[in-house]
């Protein structure tokens, strides 16, 4: 067992897959000599060479498009977006070309697009985004968001091995703050499409993902201590496909649900989850499903306003109390 950071876990996962499978290669801006803006691929260029670690021009469409073409030919490209905010530049080619390729043309596109997402880091409106909603809406893409060190490794490896395109959103707040022991010898693979019960509880479930899992766990602890309320926390891990069984199980167990995410509310993924709950287990609800999300504004960067806009642990506690008392 060695303690590694969330970032190091991603690094290890990439490294192991590149060692295992010569078809895997990386492309992105500044991933080679620099090792990436956050150093996720530090040392890769020296070890794997410039053909497998390609420093590209500032061209997200080219990165994604070239990855798709290479993937058709049997390679396994992993693209880095320097910040996930720039994936928007490749929105069209991802949703129109990549996502539809298998369906419309029987083309395989086993590729991964990964990059740092998320706020709480004073990054402002263009270095803090959570772009999952638009992509979850796109049939043909898979999306994963690891919350733990273990899943950071397990999901990047599973994503690379998947036959379909996977977007891998890694939370930059967790990069170096989150540490955990990972067994040295074990091959860690997290199945895509399966949620995780991050904490067991009976009075209320908080369904969430990404860095918000940790806020939910904090809230759960506080609720136990101050209110005697037992909160179940579901870490979705995979946003597409969603794990309906895990969602339904949590609702049946607790009858009261908060759906939480860091992304803005309107049109965000929490609406989808709420609708699924309504459709799949309305009868099991003792209270309305309520959402705890960011306010519907671009994310401002001054600490006071960023903290106001993004949901905080205390907001989850407040909201949980409301739902439990309902």
């Amino acid at each position: 067992m060695t303690e590694v950071t969330y970032l190091e876990a991603i690094r290890q996962g990439l490294w192991e897959e590149m060692e295992r499978d010569p078809r895997v290669f990386l492309l992105g801006e500044d991933i080679g000599t620099l090792g990436g803006a956050f150093r996720v691929t530090e040392g890769f260029l020296d070890h794997f060479g410039a053909e497998r670690v390609i420093d590209t021009p500032v061209s997200e469409v080219a990165i994604v498009g070239a990855a798709a073409g290479a993937a058709h030919m049997g390679l396994r490209p992993v693209c880095e977006m320097q910040f996930i905010d720039f994936i928007s530049c490749a929105y069209s080619i991802l949703t129109n070309y990549v996502a539809t390729a298998r369906y419309r043309a029987d083309l395989s596109v086993p590729m991964v697009v990964r990059g740092p997402c998320g706020g709480y880091v004073r990054g402002g409106p263009f270095h803090s985004q959570n772009p999952e909603a638009a992509f979850v809406h796109t049939p043909g893409l898979k999306i994963v968001c690891p919350a733990t060190v273990r899943d950071a490794k397990g999901l990047i490896k599973a994503a690379i091995r998947d036959e379909d395109p996977v977007l891998f959103f890694e939370h930059k707040y967790l990069y170096r703050r989150l540490k955990d022991d990972l067994p040295a010898g074990e091959e860690i693979l997290t199945p895509i499409g399966r949620a995780r019960v991050a904490r067991e509880g009976t009075d209320l479930a908080i369904i969430t993902y990404g860095a918000m899992v940790w806020k939910a766990l904090e809230a759960a602890e506080q609720l136990r201590q101050t209110d005697g309320v037992e909160t179940e926390v579901i870490d979705l891990r995979s946003l597409a496909p969603l794990d309906d069984d895990a969602i339904v199980a949590a609702v049946r167990k607790t009858h009261r649900v908060l759906v939480a995410h860091e992304d803005t509310r309107t049109g965000g993924l929490a609406g989808e989850i709420t609708a699924r709950i309504s459709e799949l287990c309305f009868e099991w609800l003792d209270a309305p499903v309520k959402r705890v999300c960011a306010h519907d504004v671009p994310l401002p960067y001054a600490p006071t306003v960023e903290d106001f806009v993004l949901p905080q642990t205390e907001d989850l506690v407040n909201a949980a109390r409301w739902v439990v008392r309902y």
Binding site: F25, E51, R52, I54, T56, P57, S59, E60, V61, A62, I63, V64, G65, A66, A67, A68, G69, A70, A71, H72, M73, G74, L75, P77, S92, I93, N96, Y97, T100, R102, Y103, R104, A105, D106, L107, S108, P139, G140, K142, D162, E163, D164, P241, E279, E283
Partner: protein, 345 residues
């Protein structure tokens, strides 16, 4: 002596492919009028030489791959696409290569060497750059070729894809069909350059130009670019100057085209030109050409007969194959109604 490395048999085969392209489109026009097609019909009348000649410069045996745009039917036929596949696509048949999912010539077979386009112009450039990248990374002496129109070159995707290919010196040929228009937009409203090949300078790659209505010239200029790519010297931008004699699609009556312009270009018809040349140079006899033309019509008779009565796809097939896993999308709940039990059970 032919002006290139092409044998008389190959020069005749160029005629075959051009004739096949044109006749296939003519069949489609008839089927369109009969209401048998689903969706619009896009013609390449007058541009057959540029598609056929450029594709002919690829080496199918070595696994070269091209990606056509909407007016490059001819290039797909050269790569082995069969007329019946095209007909099925246009009629949205269950047996069509995309099983009725995608339109017209939007289909592919990487084995035969053509990748299907999507509608969004420009995207095929980075994708083909990726295919060329795979050739480079796996050390295969294969070449990729991607078509763009005068219009498609204005897209950001074209720019990013070609720039990446140039920096990486990928074995990619970009063939720009300058056919005077993007839908109704004349080239002077599309770009301020005098020649589209001038855009090559912005990528540090050579730009070359040829008469797109001269099939031998289009072959020859593309062949140079293909050889260059195969030799590891990187991309070339090939401009083929031609003219779109029909509307953007069949429904487009071209009100925006100045009077007389089409007629001028009809004079330069690439099939007529090549046919005359075959005869004049003695590369083929009238009877041989006639036999090729007859063969085209026979093949097309068979192709039409072979698929005209085929059914549309079964509705439920629509849910297959969004992902490898899961293999089938969820059937929406409302389609599984009326349900027998009460919803409370």
């Amino acid at each position: 002596m032919p002006p290139t490395d092409l044998s008389p048999a190959q020069l005749l085969e160029l005629h075959y492919f051009m004739r096949l392209t044109r006749s296939l489109e003519e069949r489609l026009v008839v089927l369109h009028r009969q209401g048998k097609l689903v969706g619009g019909l896009f013609r390449s009348l007058g541009q057959e030489a540029d598609s056929v000649g450029s594709a002919y410069a690829l080496d199918r045996g070595r696994g070269d791959i091209l990606s056509p745009l909407i007016r490059n039917l001819g290039s797909m036929l050269v790569q082995g696409a069969r007329p019946v596949e095209v007909l099925r696509q246009y009629m949205a048949k269950a047996e069509s290569p995309t099983r009725g999912r995608e339109l017209n010539i939007h289909f592919n077979d990487l084995e035969r060497g053509f990748l299907g386009q999507i509608s969004h112009l420009g995207d095929m450039v980075p994708v083909m750059a990726g295919i060329a990248l795979s050739f480079k990374l796996t050390r295969q002496p294969r070449v990729g070729l991607v078509y763009v129109g005068d219009g498609a070159m204005s897209t950001g995707a074209f720019h990013e894809g070609l720039n990446f290919a140039a920096v990486q010196r990928l074995p990619l040929v970009v063939v720009c069909e300058n056919n005077g228009y993007a839908y109704s937009t004349p080239t002077r409203l599309q770009t301020a350059v005098a020649h589209l090949k001038d855009k090559a300078a912005g990528y540090g790659i050579p730009g070359v130009e040829a008469d797109g209505n001269d099939v031998i010239a289009t072959y020859a200029v593309t062949k140079m670019a293909v050889d260059r790519a195969r030799a590891g010297e990187g991309p070339t931008l090939v401009e083929l100057v031609t003219y779109r004699r029909k509307g953007h699609a069949e429904h487009d009556a071209q009100p925006y085209v100045p009077a007389g312009e089409i007629e001028v270009w009809a004079e330069k018809d690439p099939l007529d030109r090549h046919r005359r040349r075959l005869l004049a140079e003695g590369w083929a006899a009238e009877a041989e050409i006639a036999a090729v033309e007859a063969r085209v019509e026979k093949e097309l008779d068979e192709a039409v007969a072979g698929c005209i009565n085929e059914p549309f796809p079964e509705p439920g097939t629509a849910l297959d194959g969004v992902y490898a896993d899961p293999p089938r999308a969820e059937d929406e709940w409302y389609r599984r109604l009326p349900i027998a039990q009460s919803p409370h059970d």
